[in-house]
């Protein structure tokens, strides 16, 4: 099953991106989480027929991709991968909402299509923001940021463990899958029954592993609380970044910049 191997390396790739060292990567993770959160909230707060007002928001993903040295193609692929979800959310709008909103040279565009497009743009914006946050911030950093935003400690430590062991588990799965493929010739041996066995073996191994990990934690004095000695300090750059973000978000939300630019262009012509 080559796809499993591929997915595993993809996961590793996104992780590797987050260890680059650029201006965006160096920003305080807490600040980045807050900025992303606000960005998503602002985008979602637009009314359902909004199109032009959303366009200026592409400024943020573009900025992150270019200054964070993130391959845009990789992010676009990831967005496409999840896009059926957004398509299904909006696909019935054109059929249900048939009032004509605009008409260009005899082609009528119904309100349904507009709201569908609006949903899709919102989806692209929010998903790319989330992906770029992950690609430019190390996962522990994101967890730290979430903790700062008030996520209870137990969830934070769960997330940290998830991050640490998803790679171990994926590798283990990959090994089992390879061992199965090596001994199943053609179709036989790849059925549901083997799959169930495979999953149960994996589950039992996971339980055993968790016991061993817990043992290792106890032997180092674990008492239910995970402490950190890392100090994150917010620098001037972080403050400037968050203030600029806030100002831009406000500006983009309040004034329809794309629309006004269009009008300006019309006047000049």
């Amino acid at each position: 099953m080559p796809t499993f191997d591929k997915e595993y390396f993809n996961l590793g790739y996104l992780d590797a991106l987050s260890y680059k060292d650029t201006f965006v990567h160096r920003l305080d993770p807490g600040i980045k989480v807050i900025a992303t959160f606000l960005f998503v909230l602002t985008v979602v707060s637009f009314p359902k027929y909004e199109l032009s007002g959303l366009l200026p928001f592409f400024f943020f993903p573009v900025l992150f991709v270019s200054s964070g040295d993130i391959p845009a193609k990789f992010i676009l692929k990831k967005i496409l991968l999840v896009s059926p979800f957004a398509l299904f959310v909006g696909i019935f709008n054109p059929f249900l909402d048939r009032d004509i909103m605009y008409s260009f040279y005899g082609i009528n565009i119904s309100a349904g299509w507009i709201s569908f497009l609006s949903i899709f743009i919102k989806y692209v914006l929010t998903i790319s923001a989330a992906l770029l946050l992950i690609a430019t911030t190390s996962f522990p950093g994101v967890c730290y940021g979430l903790q700062k935003l008030g996520l209870p400690e137990i969830f934070v430590s769960q997330l940290l463990f998830l991050y640490r062991y998803i790679f171990v588990l994926a590798e283990e799965t990959m090994k089992i899958v390879r061992a199965r493929d090596m001994r199943s010739f053609g179709r036989t041996g790849k059925g549901l029954k083997t799959f169930i066995n495979l999953i149960s073996v994996l589950f039992i191994r996971t339980v055993e592993k968790s016991e061993r990990i817990y043992r290792a934690m106890l032997s180092r004095g674990f008492d239910g609380k995970i402490r950190s000695a890392k100090k994150y300090s917010i620098s001037g750059v972080d403050i400037i970044f968050i203030l600029t973000t806030l100002a831009l978000l406000y500006l983009f939300r309040k004034y329809d910049i794309a629309w006004q630019l269009g009008n300006l262009a019309k006047k000049i012509i």
């Binding site: 522990p140 940290l160 991050y163 640490r164 106890l218 180092r220 995970i226 000695a229 100090k231």
Partner: protein, 245 residues
């Protein structure tokens, strides 16, 4: 100090499913001694190590570490004195970065952040991994993982270092490096392994465990050159001795 630091008296242990793994183990280990524990698969080596750490409690008999007798209340104190390096470093390294992982123990001891930082750096320097500080464990090689796992234990400055198969996943060079690190420690060491050459290099004393009892206990060079004793325990002469004897 001359008093015994680890003392087991007539320790029996039965797993909940009824298998009796330890059947009357008694020994004393003094300060600074390094002891190898060898034996066939399933002889009870790992179970024995877990008794010393207080993870498993003896069904009968007593375990004394320093001046503390192991019971449910003293377990926490005992774990501060006994540092265990487990066989699989992936189990040992559970924090997202090397630094966080090595800092985990010292932070739980209640040290200040400054002190923790010092200890982490010192421990990582001892095992030669200081440049890996900010890496996540899944970016490390097996040899690096083992070294960091050892650093995570020595950062707690335990009195006793307990290791289960420390070199099982290492290439020869990393293994040699590990042996040199271990030789330089002045901790009391208890090392369980099938790698008899490692035991011969690092330990001056060796115990052979057979079906939950101690089959032999004495100077490592003497025990590990006793072909008959080793072969009845599913072992063989260390490679370095095979040509000589």
């Amino acid at each position: 100090m001359s008093h015994h630091i680890v003392e087991l008296k007539d320790v029996y242990f039965k797993y909940p499913d009824g298998t009796e793994t330890l059947k009357g183990i008694s020994f004393k280990i003094t300060h600074g001694e390094s002891v190898g524990v060898v034996g066939a698969n399933g002889a009870g080596k790992s179970t024995l190590l877990l008794q010393i750490n207080g993870y498993l409690m003896p069904s009968s008999g007593s375990v004394v570490i320093g001046d503390l007798k192991l019971d449910r209340r003293s377990r926490k104190e005992i774990r501060k004195k006994v540092g265990v390096v487990f066989q699989n470093p992936d189990d040992q390294l559970f924090m997202p970065t090397v630094f966080d992982d090595v800092a985990f123990g010292p932070l739980n001891l209640g040290l200040t952040c400054e002190k923790v930082r010092e200890r982490v750096e010192e421990a990582l320097k001892t095992v030669g991994c200081i440049e890996l500080k900010d890496k996540p464990p899944h970016h490390l090689s097996s040899g690096q993982k083992s070294a960091v796992a050892i650093a995570s234990i020595i950062a707690m400055q335990p009195d006793i270092l307990v290791m289960d198969e420390p070199a099982s996943s290492l290439d020869p060079k990393s293994r040699r490096y590990l042996i040199n690190i271990l030789k330089n420690f002045r901790h009391t060491k208890i090392i369980a392994s099938h790698d008899l050459d490692l035991i011969l290099d690092v330990c001056e004393r060796c115990m052979v465990i057979r079906e939950g009892t101690i089959a032999a206990d004495g100077p490592a060079d003497k025990i590990l050159s006793d072909r008959d004793l080793l072969e009845t325990n599913n072992l063989e002469l260390p490679l370095s001795l095979q040509k000589i004897l």
